[in-house]
């Protein structure tokens, strides 16, 4: 059974989420603080982490950063706040997705399944973009010969762009193909592209491979 770690300080919300996730077929367990969550994830790693941002002690942003340091586990923020500032900060810290409370359990479950995929069925074989190599089958990205650690979401984003190498994909298309959203927050795409650039570009401020086409979207090129 797929394990989900729920980091949420509100007892009732945590309990209700655990009940509902178990009903959906997950093995769910919950903790009330970020510190406990980090401990738990080290000793008994779950396949997903659901995290609230406002936590006593260490806050959600810092917890995401620490989780991300040595793990590519999909992290979904579940918060009652929907300020642009919070969303961008959480995504930049390393979260894969951001949902605003209250979220329907069916939708949450669909989000989690979309994030779990690594690469795509029938993905193309290795592609080389100068010093950048994307290998969907091996699930690897190499930059200058070195394997670059990317999260699953970043990897799917990169594969999607590699598959359409040299062509522009709109934010909306990427949102649909990588996150499975019909309509949604395009900042998800922007922040993930930003994070990818930090890993695969020599100069992330002046990207060579992953370029922005103003008003259109993104393109991966040699």
């Amino acid at each position: 059974m797929t394990a989900v770690l729920v980091i949420e300080d509100d007892d009732r919300i945590r309990l209700a989420l655990l009940l509902a996730l178990e009903e959906e077929g997950y093995r769910a367990y919950g903790v009330a603080t970020a510190e406990e969550g980090l401990r738990r994830q080290r000793s008994d790693p779950a396949e997903y982490v659901l995290i609230d941002l406002m936590l006593p002690g260490m806050d959600g942003f810092e917890c995401i950063r620490q989780l991300r340091r040595d793990d590519d586990v999909p992290i979904v923020v579940i918060s009652a706040r929907d300020d642009t500032h919070d969303i961008v900060a959480a995504l930049e810290a390393g979260a894969d997705d951001y949902v605003v409370k209250p979220v329907a359990i069916k939708e949450l479950s669909a989000r989690l399944r979309a994030l779990r995929r690594r690469g795509r069925a029938g993905a193309v074989s290795s592609q080389v973009f100068g010093d950048l190599e994307v290998s969907p089958e091996a699930g690897e990205v190499r930059h200058g010969g070195q394997v670059v650690p990317v999260t699953r979401t970043e990897f799917r984003l990169l594969c999607e762009l590699a598959e359409h190498a040299g062509r522009v994909l709109s934010r909306r298309q990427l949102l649909q193909r990588v996150w499975g959203y019909e309509t949604g927050d395009e900042r998800l795409v922007d922040v993930h592209v930003g994070r990818l650039r930090q890993k695969i570009e020599e100069d992330p401020a002046n990207p060579r491979h992953l370029v922005t086409l103003r008003g259109l979207g993104y393109k991966l090129q040699r």
């Binding site: 919300i13 509902a20 979220v103």
Partner: protein, 451 residues
């Protein structure tokens, strides 16, 4: 009667003031000039008359004087005419001198031995008449034409009238010009108020430009500050309330989903209760989302270039509708400068409204209208909206009569209010009409949408 505007009133005041001033100055100078000209002329005439009278007296001082010859010998020029009354007869330069134009009163005065001067009109000409007694039976009169003086005065009067009119005109122009400057601060206040109404809450008046207007500017700015603070407080309150509602809603949503999944294991009554809980939780959730959105719509639109046709097709697909519904009217562009998120919400809410109350949308039409307005229309095949409801359905928590009677209760009652607010954030408006052939046609107009 409509009251004249400030500018018109000030201008009229200036014009009337200038006219009064100029007219009184003109009258005064006319009168002064006239009087001094006439006095001068009179003095000259009297002196000449006395001189002539002396000549006539000495000419008559013979035994049988020829009166006409004596009068003819006078050097009077063309402007003076001598007359002599002697022994009850009138003499002039010509023999057939008519009855004298000399008034009886003056005749009596001169016959009494006193000299006199009178202004009279002879053959339509202003004339000065000087009478000098020569003896008991003889009086000498001299008529001096004042035509030249009269002409001079006429020219002077015309000139002064023209000057007065011109002065009044200049006064009006000055008033118009001066009020342009004095009305300018009011224009600035009006502009600022309009910008604030359009949602730009950073607008303030410059308090340093004119010391006379500092108080107005300062008060205006303080009013805006307080207004902004109140709006911000309301917005924060709405956001806080909504935020506080979201957390318990999450518990409810998760718990309701457990109940729903297990409903087949419950008896019918429990299953119905579980279904009601789940449905109401999701309605509650939409309500909170819409309230948060409403709290947010106070902010001005953030415009960017958006391909609205593509956005509309995506929105249709998101609602499980065929994207063939969307059409762009020939000759129009669908690339608009609008707030993407707001336009997406407008589309979603209009589609939801059509699905819920209008039997589903039958067309989504994009067009443009001069000069730069983007027009977005959603047609449905429902019962339409009665004329009485066309305004109120865009208010919060109002549902049309038809909607109420059809018990479409899963809406939040905020969808169309949001559409109207999003349109207003663009400086536009939302409205509804009958669709030719039945159903309703919702129309949203977004000005300044063309790049």
């Amino acid at each position: 009667m409509t009251r004249l505007g400030l500018r018109a009133r000030v201008t009229a005041g200036f014009a009337i003031g200038a006219l009064l001033l100029a007219a009184s100055m003109a009258l005064f100078s006319y009168d002064l000039t006239r009087r001094s000209l006439l006095e001068e002329r009179e003095r000259t005439a009297v002196r000449a008359a006395y001189f002539d009278a002396a000549v006539v007296r000495s000419g008559l001082d013979t035994d049988a004087p020829n009166v006409v010859e004596v009068l003819r010998s006078l050097d009077t020029g063309s402007s003076r005419r001598p007359l002599l009354h002697r022994d009850g007869r009138w003499y002039g330069r010509t023999a057939e001198t008519d009855a004298s134009p000399v008034p009886d009163a003056l005749q009596r005065l001169v016959r009494g031995g006193e000299a006199g001067v009178q202004r009279i009109t002879v053959a339509g000409q202003p004339t000065l008449l000087v009478g000098v007694p020569l003896s008991d039976t003889t009086s000498y009169y001299e008529l001096t034409s004042l035509r030249e003086v009269a002409q001079t005065l006429q020219v002077l009067a015309l000139t002064l009238t023209a000057v007065a009119i011109m002065t009044a005109g200049s006064g009006a122009a000055l008033g118009w010009y001066a009020t342009r400057h004095s009305v300018r601060p009011l224009t600035a206040v009006a502009d600022a108020a309009e910008r604030i109404a359009a949602g730009d809450y950073t607008t303030r008046l410059d308090t340093t430009t004119d010391p006379d207007l500092t108080r107005l500017s300062t008060s205006f700015n303080r009013m805006v500050d307080e207004l902004v603070e109140r709006i911000e407080r309301d917005r924060r309150f709405a956001a806080d309330v909504s935020h506080e509602l979201r957390s318990p809603l999450q518990t409810l949503a998760a718990a309701a989903s457990v109940l729903t999944r297990r409903s087949e294991r419950h008896d019918d009554r429990t299953a119905t209760a579980a279904r009601l809980v789940a449905e109401e939780v999701s309605r509650f959730q939409r309500l909170v989302d819409d309230l948060i959105e409403l709290a947010r719509t106070e902010q001005p639109a953030q415009r960017e270039l958006v391909d609205v046709a593509t956005l509309a097709r995506e929105t249709c697909r998101a609602r499980g509708l065929p994207d063939g519904l969307v059409s762009v009217v020939a000759g129009s562009t669908a690339e608009w400068l609008v707030d993407r998120r707001r336009v997406e919400q407008i589309l979603l809410n209009l589609l939801d409204n059509a699905i819920r109350y209008g039997g589903g949308p039958v067309a989504v039409r994009l067009s443009t209208r001069p000069p730069d307005t983007g027009v977005l229309e959603v047609d449905d095949a429902g019962p339409g909206v009665s004329a009485a409801d066309r305004e109120v359905i865009f208010d919060r928590f109002v549902r049309g009569r038809a909607a109420r009677s059809r018990a479409g209760t899963d809406g939040t009652g905020l969808g169309l209010a949001l559409v109207a607010q999003h349109a207003a954030a663009h400086g536009g408006r939302a409205g509804v009409d009958d669709r030719p052939g039945g159903g309703a046609r919702f129309r949203v107009e977004l000005p300044e949408a063309l790049p």
